[in-house]
């Protein structure tokens, strides 16, 4: 929220008059909530805590420029396909994946933090991931002889297939929401949802029963003007009297906002602020809020949480060479800061961060940028990641080659289902539940990609 208005609203408290005697009265509900949490502290949050952090790169990130082959033949193929979009070989930062060695791969010049995390075993890449119904060859794609994801290359449909980790069938709930649905009680005794969106909600964390809580980058605020208990009672009467189906959703959201602000505001204010740790970017501000929430998880007594943060601007049809360095730099700096924050509060083993993006982009150029692709490279980060490796199968980047379904749109070699399934297994989803949550996972021979300990 804009700083000026926020400050004015805080100043506003001094001017509002709520009637005799009300000025000094604390909100009864708030007082009660704090006492309840004090009780919970003694029940303990436990060491069985895990968190997943979904970093969604909206627009379709050109991740074939994030992880780049640097062998002589590999780079030559890449450069020939990418034309004016190719990163110069000298600009790439070298990495030494275990089992592959030096000189084969590099990362974009703007991501030194990601390079460092990779080389110290806290980050891994998963090559050429994308929505697939089943393993698909170029021939099968062109012949339309297997089930294919619907509406390929359309932003919102492909975003949806990543959120759902399912490229066919119907249903509303996102994959992490479906996972949380099958972990009842992980919220502990707090009413805070285990699914938390920073700044906005997102389908990936919406389940059939799990309903996300959305917190601003700056934390929570009270809804002003209800210090007077009589007025709060009237407000609640208006909320509970609502019978209109749309009105009831608004009423529920407002009730939850009031309730959760009462629970969280004191804890967040007393918790670490991570001042100076995070860059002041769109992603940095959101990840800082995630870090602040994880830092108070013991006081809340929660067992599992999934966070969603988003970064836009990746739809680089235009001016890609001008825009991509800044986008990747911002991503890298924010992820580096987040891992540093998790290390500093001792949660590195319990928090795993990963990327989603609706598609990679066309290897070929439109003269000023790239268009919508299909497969792209993903990453996972955290102390529990078996890092310094590239999982999955890197594609052949030759235009019109065996992995190119047209104009350099690369056919994925690993499905989103497998990517999400591997994360979910670490998160604690039971084997018997895996097929229910990921119905297409059994189409793939390798349901666990092996990148988690």
């Amino acid at each position: 929220m804009n700083i000026d208005i926020q400050k004015k609203l805080l100043d506003r408290r001094r001017f509002l008059r709520f009637g005799a005697g009300a000025a000094a009265a604390a909100s009864v509900a708030q007082f009660t909530a704090v006492r309840a949490l004090a009780g919970q502290r003694m029940m303990g949050g436990g060491n069985d805590y895990k968190a997943l952090v979904c970093v969604f790169l909206y627009g379709g990130a050109d991740t074939f420029n994030l992880l780049v082959p640097t062998s002589a033949s590999g780079y030559a193929t890449y450069a020939a396909s990418r034309g004016d979009l190719a990163e110069s070989q000298s600009s790439l930062l070298p990495i030494t994946p275990l089992g592959i060695g030096a000189g084969e791969y590099g990362v974009h010049g703007s991501v030194p933090e990601l390079q460092g995390l990779f080389e110290t075993g806290k980050l891994a890449f998963v090559g050429n991931v994308g929505p697939l119904v089943q393993p698909t060859t170029k021939g099968a794609y062109l012949a339309n002889s297997v089930g294919l994801p619907q509406y390929l290359f359309s932003h919102n449909d492909q975003q949806s297939q990543w959120h759902l980790a399912r490229a066919s069938g119907s249903g509303y709930a996102g994959w992490a929401g479906r996972v949380l649905d099958r972990m009842p009680g992980v919220g502990g005794s707090t009413s805070l949802s285990p699914a938390i969106g920073i700044g906005s909600t997102a389908q990936v964390i919406e389940g059939d029963q799990t309903s996300p809580y959305v917190i601003g980058e700056g934390g929570t605020s009270p809804i002003e003007s209800y210090d007077d208990p009589a007025r709060a009672t009237l407000r609640d009467a208006l909320l509970s009297a609502e019978s209109h189906p749309l009105g009831r959703e608004y009423a529920g959201t407002m009730s939850t906002a009031i309730d959760i602000d009462a629970q969280l505001s004191g804890l967040l204010a007393a918790g670490p602020s991570f001042d100076g740790v995070f860059p002041e970017s769109e992603l940095g501000a959101q990840l800082r809020m995630v870090a602040r929430m994880i830092a108070i998880r013991s006081q809340l007594g929660v067992g599992r949480q999934v966070f969603h943060v988003g970064m836009g601007g990746f739809d680089t049809h235009d001016n890609q060479t001008g825009l991509l360095p800044g986008l990747f730099a911002s991503l890298s700096a924010a992820l580096g800061a987040f891992q540093q924050a998790m290390d500093s509060i001792g949660e590195s083993q319990r928090v795993t961060t990963f990327t989603h993006t609706e598609f990679g982009r066309t290897l070929s150029s439109n003269g000023q940028g790239s268009d919508h692709g299909w497969g792209g490279n993903g990453l996972v980060m955290g102390g529990a990641v078996r890092g310094q490796q590239i999982y999955g199968t890197m594609p052949d980047l030759t235009l019109d080659g065996p992995d190119d379904v047209g104009d350099g749109r690369i056919l994925p070699t690993t499905s989103v289902d497998q990517f999400a399934g591997t994360l979910s297994k670490w998160f604690g989803l039971g084997q018997t539940q895996m097929g229910l949550v990921f119905p297409n996972l059994s189409n793939f021979s390798n349901p666990d990609l092996g990148f988690m300990t």
Partner: protein
């Protein structure tokens, strides 16, 4: 209570012709119905408009609205700003030119028009169109090109009651849209540099602006094939072919285009209508959506015409665009029959003409499902967009305009999560199908929930509280830079809490508060003092009630 139909003989408007009027034109509305009608057909029911609608009926009011002169933003911005680089070039601009005052002015002009412009229906429809044919200042370049954005908004205002084919052509050629979706400077394939045309505009023109992804029946339902699957409206290849057809356009300029790529790419950004550059247009034959062949040699204009004619004649457009207009104005969940009726008007306005937005908008607002409202359909209505939550209050209480040259109008966009041309992407603030799990299980959507999250509604509610206390004309807070609302009638009514509640219900809701809460509120207000030191008499009761009502679901859902 439903609007009652008067026999033609009793209609207050003269019925001069020999052609029998359809029943919808004869409808008259009660006071409350008029308020609810105006909340769909304007930025909020003002007392004056409410009286007018009661007097002459909604159909005649719509007809009157369509004769009002169009409020335009660009001329007003040019009149107030000394320098407009993207309009006149930067010849007269200082070296340290700052675009930000013009950015703020564009927001200020939008809000002042929303609050007080006479062409309310046109402006409301333009606002709806801006959420379908999306251009946004949330863009690397357009963030600094407020005059270009104003010119785009004016295009929507001017086209709001015209034919859709003309509007989509104006939108396709508009420089702001060209910048936003890559139509500008898009050039034909170059085998030497191994480039091909940018597909961005071709794709979104089809997916978002005209026909959508899958075949629709006139009632808006998705057509399914024999295997129960939706039928796509176009293929990836057809996107590529359409992208070829849309090559060769650039910003307007005075120079004669020559054939170098550098000249083409270096041309300065200018607001207005793009120009074709033949050297960069792919003039070969193409096969576009639906397998329609486009012969070679038509040039950029001819190819654009062929693409737009094909798209605008596609049967999807009526249900695809028509249903979204219903969702912006009347209800998030129209019945299939309602959508079908609007599709029919899209296909033929009664005079054999297709895509006539004036006729479509009139049909949407006068449809029996809209007039009967929540009495007939329990889920009827919309979670009010954040902009409309504020504007409805301003208009209900005859608010004035923003203090010129200040930041508040611009700040509104961030606090409200919504503003004029501020969508986070070409997919707008929300999608037509957005919903949550609880509503999805009831078969309902509520796109506006996307901007009504826990975090958003807190900020929106607090802004409303701020305004209620600080913008009272009887006692304005010095720091408030926004419109002042006319509190006189409220302060007078405050003597009798029952009257105050009735006044607020009448102005803001067009209907009663829930009865159980209502009686509690009246009892409570009885105990609130009329005289509080430092405040006008009655102000304590007024601000207390307004805060409760504007934060409530009863106000937040437009019915």
């Amino acid at each position: 209570m439903a609007g009652f139909l008067l026999p033609a003989a009793l209609a207050l408007t003269g019925c001069s012709g020999s052609v029998a009027q359809p029943a919808a034109d004869q409808v008259l509305l009660s006071q409350n119905e008029a308020v609810r009608f105006l909340n769909r057909a304007s930025f909020g029911a003002s007392p004056a408009d409410t009286a007018r609608v009661v007097q002459i009926g909604p159909a005649a009011w719509i007809d009157e609205q369509m004769t009002q002169p169009t409020t335009l933003h660009l001329p007003a911005m040019l009149a107030q700003m000394a320098c407009a680089p993207e309009v006149t070039g930067d010849v007269n601009c200082p070296g340290d030119y700052d675009y930000f005052p013009a950015v703020r002015l564009r927001h200020e002009l939008f809000w002042n028009a929303a609050i007080a412009a006479p062409d309310q229906l046109r402006q409301r429809v333009a606002f709806a169109l801006s959420q379908i044919l999306v251009v946004s200042e949330r863009h690397e370049e357009l963030a600094e090109l407020p005059f270009m954005l104003a010119s785009y908004h004016d295009e929507l205002s001017q086209g709001a009651f015209g034919d859709f084919r003309s509007l989509i052509e104006a939108v396709s050629k508009n420089a702001a849209m060209g910048e936003y979706l890559g139509m500008v400077k898009n050039r034909k394939a170059d085998p030497v540099t191994n480039t091909r045309p940018d597909e961005n505009f071709a794709r979104e023109l089809m997916q978002l602006f005209t026909i959508g992804l899958s075949m629709l029946a006139p009632d808006g339902s998705v057509v399914l094939d024999g295997g129960g699957q939706p039928v796509p409206t176009y293929t990836q290849t057809e996107i590529e072919e359409t992208a070829r057809a849309l090559t060769g356009w650039n910003f307007p300029s005075d120079i004669t285009p020559n054939s170098t790529v550098e000249d083409f790419l270096d041309l300065d950004r200018r607001a207005g209508v793009m120009q074709p550059w033949p050297a960069f247009h792919d003039d070969g034959p193409k096969v576009i959506v639906g397998g329609v062949p486009v012969p070679g040699g038509l040039g950029a204009e001819g190819d654009l015409d062929a693409v737009l004619d094909t798209l605008c004649n596609h049967p999807n457009v009526g249900p695809f665009i028509g249903k979204q207009l219903i969702q912006r104005l009347v209800t998030s969940n129209p019945s299939p029959a309602y959508v079908a009726r609007i599709s029919a008007v899209w296909a033929d306005d009664g005079s054999g003409r297709r895509g006539q937005l004036g006729a479509v908008v009139k049909a949407i607002l006068l449809d029996p499902e809209a007039i009967r409202g929540v009495e007939a359909t329990p889920h009827f209505g919309i979670i009010r967009e954040p902009v409309l939550r504020m504007s409805t209050f301003f208009r209900a209480f005859n608010a004035g305009s923003f203090t010129p040259g200040t930041e508040l109008a611009w700040e509104f966009a961030e606090v409200l999560r919504q503003g004029p041309l501020t969508a986070p992407s070409v997919f707008n603030f929300y999608r037509p199908t957005d919903t949550n799990q609880a509503l999805a299980s009831q078969g309902l959507v509520a796109p506006e929930l996307k901007v009504t999250t826990h975090s958003a509604l807190t900020d929106q509610a607090n802004l409303m509280t701020f305004m209620i206390f600080d913008a009272m004309d009887a006692a304005p807070e010095q720091e408030w830079e926004g419109p002042l609302y006319s509190a006189g009638p409220l302060l007078t009514a405050a003597e009798v809490p029952q009257s105050l509640v009735a006044l607020v219900e009448g102005r803001l809701l067009g209907g009663p508060l829930p009865s159980s809460a209502r009686s509690q509120i009246i009892s409570h207000l009885d105990g609130v003092p009329m005289d509080v030191p430092g405040r006008p008499r009655g102000a304590e009761r007024v601000t207390e009630l307004l805060t409760l009502v504007m934060h409530s679901p009863a106000y937040t859902v437009q019915k």
